[in-house]
């Protein structure tokens, strides 16, 4: 079967070709932003071709040059791009082998490839990919018949190849932010305080007093200050903020910062799963967990460039996909997609839909109104915190029914959240343009099996043997621009579910590990959980309520992805201190073990930070927490040692790892804190106030 991404972009030469300088050119539609995807996909390609890894050249992403694979999201690059590039390389290998066999007058089965050269009976034939490149036409579709290497013959896959993108990041120039073009102009946009605000007046003279040489662009409520340098643009922008009068600014209700407020907003209901259990005499336990709005908190505020010349728009972006950017720019500017070229550059980690889509659109809107010079827009920290989409708050009400032998037999997750991908395909600048109408609700997304897809349902039902499970999701009209953040609802749902499982174990007086194993028949899951228990010394866990705690949690991501168990050791007095974290993971076939561990650990540290520290505060006209002082994250002195083990790494299928460790580590920390305190915190983040509150209410 031809992998979906290859079927959608069938021409083989779009994926692989051989260059005269002895390099292999490979292209794919996934964006590198430090997750190591370019290196991993290059390893897959090198292995399937039997070409030297060092000969691979990954084509920089730009519309027209790379296959269209949509957005780089959901940790799906390895699961979807991997098979596509692998199959493409297998097809290419088969075509070249046939050509070599033709030249040598032998059977293709007699040939082998080493370092890109064809061998016959182990001896060189004088032929290699490059010498045959002229006679093999790769401008063709795959057959679907090319055999793939079996896992035991993989040599590059499974190796710790160093990341291709890292050196540039250690020696200065690497990021889109560093791109300088001749004649570049620096611009800042004076943002509407809230999407409905109308510009009443701007005292242009006051702006010009701050910066003599400023081009002030006003179109409806879209205001930009264009200068020769970044420093001038910053000064002009600061002056314009003081010199602008707005009308129709809507105040944000600060109480909406709390997830409990979700229940007060209008929502739409979606039920799925088993029918309602009806009355029974089974033991019933309920608990409610919450997670607040979170910021992606990319370390670098987003930037983008655009140039409009001869009716053609060029955009430089560090977003999650060049084709989606082209579609967005086409919709907003009214230009034909063919008139837009999008070039990708490296950016700070985005972890989902952060502000990356916005500055390039700001720049494009300016460039079209000021043709000729390239325009650069650099967002400020306050812009990234204040106007980029946030990850939605969630409230999870869980109900369990236990049978006479204390077994969990019926499970209900009732979830309140805003749409997890709500702001996809929009830009913050749009609402300032003339004739803006709120976009219609996006069409319902469906899963391959036809069921409704919702980010809020990921991991809503834990992966244990439970006779009846159901979900009831309330999707709320969001009070604030919200969109996808690493794992969507998955992490919060796992935090809730795995905290709840510990509460059930406690209610029936069982050890949390034993309680889980008793309802986990999947051998891969059992292996992971058992290994984790050994790693963290579960057997010596010790008594509760001593101020020191050990907790663990388990999850199979989305019921079919990577299998992860995490443990946390904490000390709690007036605050939670992380002492150690552990993770055991079965992610199937591992392309690059060191890269896999880097991803898992990064996810754990970020999620530990969510758990202990983070909350977006609403207020003013939107987001009130717009600096790192208002939005603290975990720091070096608070980072515990982390130990990670990978299991079952030579499986046939590779599973995404970018967003699988968050939920388990959050619940492990929650369970460790409950063990340390003898009281549970169900609302994130676990701050000093929450500790006091938990101790008071028991």
């Amino acid at each position: 079967m031809i992998p979906a991404m290859l079927a959608a972009n069938p021409r083989l030469d779009r994926w692989v070709s051989f260059e005269p300088d002895g390099r292999v050119r490979i292209a794919f539609g996934r964006m590198e932003y430090g997750q190591g995807i370019a290196t991993a996909l290059a390893q897959i390609a090198a292995d399937e071709l039997d070409a030297p890894f060092a000969s691979l050249r990954v084509v920089p992403a730009a519309t027209g040059d790379i296959p269209d694979e949509g957005l780089t999201v959901g940790s799906m690059s390895i699961e979807f791009s991997g098979p596509a590039i692998r199959a493409a390389c297998a097809e290419v290998r088969a075509l070249f082998t046939a050509a070599a066999a033709g030249r040598l007058g032998c059977d293709a089965a007699e040939l082998d490839i080493r370092d890109g050269a064809f061998l016959k009976g182990g001896q060189p034939t004088g032929l290699d990919y490059w010498s045959l490149a002229g006679e093999v036409d790769l401008a063709r579709a795959p057959t679907g018949d090319a055999p793939l290497k079996t896992p035991d013959r993989l040599r590059v896959v499974g190796r710790n190849e160093p990341r291709l993108d890292l050196p540039a990041k250690l020696f200065g120039e690497a990021f889109l932010h560093d791109l300088s073009l001749p004649g570049l102009r620096h611009a800042r946009v004076l943002r509407q305080p809230s999407p409905q605000a109308r510009l009443v007046s701007l005292d242009e003279a006051a702006v010009r007093r701050a910066v003599g040489d400023v081009d002030i662009l006003i179109d409806h409520a879209f205001v930009a200050l264009i200068c020769a340098t970044e420093a001038e643009a910053a000064r002009a922008h600061a002056a314009a903020e003081r010199a602008a009068r707005w009308d129709g600014v809507r105040d944000m209700d600060p109480t909406l910062s709390e997830p409990a407020a979700l229940k007060t907003l209008p929502y739409e209901d979606f039920a799925a799963g088993a029918p309602s259990p009806g009355p029974s005499n089974r033991r019933r336990i309920t608990a409610t967990y919450t997670k607040p709005f979170l910021s992606h908190g990319s370390l670098g505020p987003s930037a983008g460039l655009a140039q409009f010349q001869d009716g053609k728009l060029t955009i430089w972006t560090h977003n999650q996909g060049v084709y989606p950017m082209r579609a967005l720019a086409a919709r907003i500017t009214g230009l034909e997609p063919q008139a837009i070229e999008v070039i990708h550059g490296q950016g700070p980690g985005c972890y989902g839909h952060n502000g990356a889509d916005d500055p390039p659109i700001d720049a494009a809107l300016i460039a079209i109104r000021r043709p000729g010079a390239p325009i650069r827009v650099q967002w400020r920290r306050e812009d990234e915190f204040g106007f980029a989409p946030v990850g939605t708050a969630m409230l999870m009400e869980l109900t369990a029914e236990l049978d006479a032998s204390d077994r969990l037999v019926d499970y209900t997750a009732e979830i309140w959240n805003t749409p997890h991908t709500g702001a996809r395909g929009t830009a913050v600048a749009e609402s300032a343009l003339p004739g803006y109408v709120t976009p219609p609700k996006p069409a319902q997304r469906l899963m391959p099996d036809g069921s409704r897809f919702s980010g809020g349902l990921l991991n809503a039902t834990p992966s244990y043997d439970i006779a009846a499970t159901r979900t009831l999701e309330h999707v709320i009209e969001t009070p604030i621009r919200s969109s996808s953040l690493r794992s969507l609802g998955g992490a919060a749902n796992t935090f809730a579910a795995e905290s709840f499982i510990d509460e059930l174990a406690e209610a029936v007086g069982q050890d949390p590990l034993a309680y889980r194993l008793a309802m986990l028949s999947d051998p891969r899951g059992r292996a992971v959980l058992t290994r984790l228990a050994a790693m963290c010394g579960w057997a010596d866990r010790g008594a509760a309520a001593t101020g020191r705690g050990l907790g663990l949690a388990y999850d199979r991501h989305r019921g079919r992805g990577a299998i992860v168990a995490c443990a946390a050791q904490v000390e709690v007095d007036t605050e939670v201190r992380l002492k150690r974290l552990w993770c055991a993971c079965d992610g199937g076939l591992i392309i690059n073990p060191d890269g896999a561990k880097n991803q898992l650990e990064g996810g754990m540290i970020m999620a530990a930070s969510w758990t202990l520290k983070e909350q977006v505060k609403l207020g003013g006209a939107g987001v009130a927490s717009v600096t790192w002082d208002d939005y603290p994250i975990l720091r070096f002195s608070e980072i515990p040692p982390v130990e990670i083990e990978l299991l079952n790494t030579r499986d046939t299928r590779a599973l995404g790892l970018g967003e699988v460790s968050q939920g388990p580590v959050m619940a492990a920390i929650g369970n460790a804190v409950a063990h340390a305190l003898g009281a549970r915190i169900r609302d994130l983040p676990m701050t000093r106030e929450k500790i006091v509150q938990a101790l008071l209410t028991g």
């Binding site: 932003y33 430090g34 997750q35 190591g36 160093p162 990341r163 993108d165 890292l166 050196p167 990041k169 250690l170 020696f171 200065g172 120039e173 690497a174 990021f175 932010h177 560093d178 300088s180 340098t229 970044e230 420093a231 910053a234 908190g297 990319s298 370390l299 670098g300 505020p301 490296q346 950016g347 700070p348 980690g349 972890y351 650099q378 400020r380 920290r381 060191d594 890269g595 880097n598 991803q599 650990e601 990064g602 996810g603 754990m604 540290i605 970020m606 930070s609 600096t627 790192w628 002082d629 994250i633 975990l634 720091r635 070096f636 002195s637 980072i639 040692p641 982390v642």
Partner: protein, 160 residues
Amino acid sequence: MQRKIELILNGHAVSVEAEATDSLLDVLRGPLGVSGARFGCGMAQCGSCAVLVDGEEKAACAMEVGAVAGKAVMTSEGLGTPERPHPLQAAFLELQAGQCGYCLSGILVGAKALLDRNADPNRAEIAQALDWHLCRCGVHNRILEAVALAARRMREGAPA
């Protein structure tokens, strides 16, 4: 008022026309054309823009360029090159201490300031020295280990 400001940038005497009150970071990244110091917050809260001024670690975003006139400024470009990496850069590569990498050049500079005053820091001392540097990708442990590795190599005589 624009004026000519002279400084030593990564070992070379340079001069630049700027307002004395412009932020050092904007002038470095703009007219001076070095990109190692990165813009992260503009409020001395994240460490992305860290530079050494006469050997002392500073947030370039919160410093006026006029204040470095006549002084030596070092950005991560002053550490080493791909051909001749500084032991810190070599250790970061060896341990693959980075994901998106946006935090790294500021952290390298902060680590250099630490190793200049303490050749054998322990984990807690490294963490303390880097504490104002944020890393959103969660690469802290690898970074702590890479700094310790570089320190060991330098004690063993690796040229810095």
